[in-house]
Every structure is written in structure tokens, then in C-alpha cells.
């Protein structure tokens, strides 16, 4: 996709998430007002008061969920704002996990982030970095059995940054999964993305792991 097309999608998505947030804010306040009014009403004049209050609480919980989703989607829409910015790998991985959890959940796979206590920051392209990580997750999800965990962790060694994506469950054709192949779409795409980031990838077959090496674009 061309840069201006990505920018276009980003801007429209950002605008819509802003509007959706206003809708959610209104639902939150209207249901809050209903709860306020109910709280001033006694049980005798409102026989199903408790049921209504529980239902309002459920609306509030769904609003909370919606706000979280739109805020993360809004953050995602701004990834194309800059091609070179400071990225905290902890935040970046956490953000991607939130956005891709659904794909994993369909296969009953959990995405687990091994966070590090100290920030691991580098200068890079935030959108391409997310795309590279997503490609690795998609590559594994397309080749593993249901169940298990995909673990993501990050570290800095010298001037280079590494992200490890490993799977701890059952793999049907293990010998083909952790072998590089130019005929696999996700790997071709991953190679192209990483090349533009000045990075590479490799397989650690013994640990069911894909390791991304990313250069700091300082």
C-alpha cells in the first residue's frame, strides 16, 4: 500500500474513533443518569429496581470495553503519522497483542507478553514494526494446532534490539514451520518489512521461536 493511502486510512480511522468515543461517552452518561435517578427511587415504587441497576452496570461495563477498544484503535490509526519515531518495545508489543488477541482467541491460543522492567526504546517506523510483529504472529497462528501460548519478549543487546516470538504448544509439521522459505507469503512480507527497517529474522527451531533483529534508526 502506498504511503498516502495508509495516511488516508489512518486519518479517517482516527476521525471515526473520535466520534465513536463521543457516542460511548453519551451512553455512559445517559446510563449513569438512569442509575442516579434509580438510586433516588425506593423499592416499593420500582419493584425491579435491582434488576435495572444490574443491567445498567452491564451497559457501563460494555462502554468501558468499547472505550478501551476505540482508544487502542485510535492509537493504531496514528502509527502512520511518522516513519521515524521513538518506540518503547514494551508498549508496542502490548498494543499489538491487544489488537490481535481476537485472531489468537479463535484458535484458543493466548498471546503473552513478557514485559521487561526497564523500557527498551529505539527509533524506528512504528507501523512497519507492528506489521513485522503481526506477520510473525499470523505465521505461527496459521501453522499451529489449537491451544497453547505464543510468548513475545524483547531485549537489547549492544546496539541491536531483539523480539522473540515463541510457541509452546503442538505443531503439526514442525520441520517445515521453523525453516525459512521464499514461497511462504508471510515470510516474504516479513523479509521486505524488516529489510526496510534495517532488520532481519531467524528461526530458533529448538525453542519454537522466531527472532526479529531490529536496528535503531538513530
Amino acid at each position: 500500500m502506498k504511503g498516502n493511502e495508509v495516511e488516508f486510512i489512518g486519518k479517517i480511522t482516527a476521525g471515526v474513533t473520535h466520534e465513536v468515543n463521543n457516542v460511548l461517552a453519551s451512553i455512559r452518561e445517559i446510563s449513569g443518569l438512569m442509575n442516579d435517578i434509580l438510586s433516588m427511587t425506593d423499592e416499593k415504587s420500582f419493584p425491579r429496581k435491582e434488576k435495572f441497576q444490574t443491567s445498567l452496570e452491564k451497559i457501563q461495563n460494555q462502554v468501558h470495553r468499547g472505550v478501551k477498544l476505540t482508544s487502542q484503535l485510535n492509537k493504531f490509526s496514528h502509527l502512520s503519522d511518522s516513519i521515524k519515531t521513538e518506540i518503547d518495545l514494551n508498549d508496542s508489543i502490548q498494543h499489538l497483542i491487544f489488537l490481535t488477541e481476537r485472531f489468537a482467541r479463535i484458535k484458543n491460543v493466548s498471546l503473552i507478553h513478557q514485559t521487561s522492567n526497564k523500557s527498551v526504546t529505539l527509533i524506528s517506523d512504528p507501523l512497519k514494526l507492528q506489521m513485522a510483529l503481526f506477520n510473525c504472529i499470523a505465521y505461527l497462528l496459521n501453522r499451529i494446532s489449537n491451544d497453547g501460548e505464543i510468548n513475545l519478549s524483547q531485549e537489547k543487546k549492544g546496539d541491536d534490539f531483539f523480539v522473540s516470538i515463541s510457541y509452546n504448544g503442538e505443531i503439526v509439521n514442525r520441520e517445515t514451520v521453523f525453516k525459512d522459505s521464499s514461497s511462504v507469503e508471510e515470510l516474504v512480507s516479513l523479509h521486505t518489512i524488516l529489510e526496510s527497517l534495517g532488520g532481519t529474522y531467524e528461526f530458533d527451531e529448538s525453542n519454537n521461536t522466531i527472532i526479529l533483529k531490529i536496528r535503531d534508526k538513530k
Binding site: T17, N22, E29, L33
Partner: protein, 122 residues
């Protein structure tokens, strides 16, 4: 809290009126304005103790309203109401003299605490 008078400026009228109603249940008198002109008219005719101001609005934007309120003789504390992607606007608003900010959708209890703090700071 009965003597607190708030002006809530937001082009989302349904949202603003509902927040105002909820504040009134809690004893805070709250007027609403859906644009900058109405807000400035209300501020001149019935100066509030605090203004809660949305930054992204059509017409006169939140920052311009903020500047105009700050240019008035009476110093009225302003709390910014901000949404996603408004970080730069928020920083600019704080630099222009806003006392605090809340993120949309705001927690009503937090907003009330900030309103009370804003009044105390005056």
C-alpha cells in the same frame, strides 16, 4: 456544593446536557453551551466559577475560547475536556492557562474533584 456554578462547553449537546443533569443531582449548578459564541455570551452575562471546555469544536475552537476567557477581567479557571489525539491541543491549552484537564469519557467523580480543586485554587 450548591453554590458552585459550572459552564460546560461541548458541541455534543446530548452529552453536555446529561453531564449537567448529573452534576445538578450532586448539587452543582451547570449550564451548557454548544459553541464558542454561546459560551462567551453566557460567561459575560452569568460568569461561572469554573468552565469545562471541550477543545475540538466546530466554529470558534476550544483554544480560541480559552484565550478569550483568559482575556476577561475576572479570572475563571478552565478545565479542558479532551479526546483521542488531542495531546498537542491539550498541552497548548495548559500553556495558555487551563488549570487541569479530563479525558472523554470522563469519570464524573473525577470531574467533580477537579472542579472543586479549581475553585479552591482561585
Amino acid at each position: 456544593m450548591n453554590d458552585i456554578h459550572v459552564l460546560l462547553v461541548d458541541d455534543e449537546e446530548e452529552l453536555a446536557k446529561t453531564i449537567a443533569e448529573r452534576l445538578e443531582i450532586r448539587g452543582i449548578y451547570c449550564q451548557t453551551a454548544s459553541d464558542g459564541d454561546k459560551a462567551l455570551d453566557l460567561i459575560k452575562s452569568q460568569p461561572p466559577d469554573v468552565v469545562v471546555l471541550d477543545l475540538l469544536m466546530p466554529g470558534i475552537g476550544g483554544l480560541e475560547i480559552l484565550k478569550q476567557i483568559k482575556s476577561l477581567e475576572r479570572n475563571i479557571p478552565i478545565i479542558l475536556l479532551t479526546g483521542y489525539g488531542s495531546n498537542e491541543l491539550r498541552i497548548e491549552g495548559m500553556n495558555l492557562g487551563a488549570i487541569d484537564y479530563v479525558l472523554k469519557p470522563c469519570n464524573l467523580d473525577d470531574l467533580i474533584i477537579k472542579i472543586q480543586k479549581a475553585i479552591k485554587s482561585e
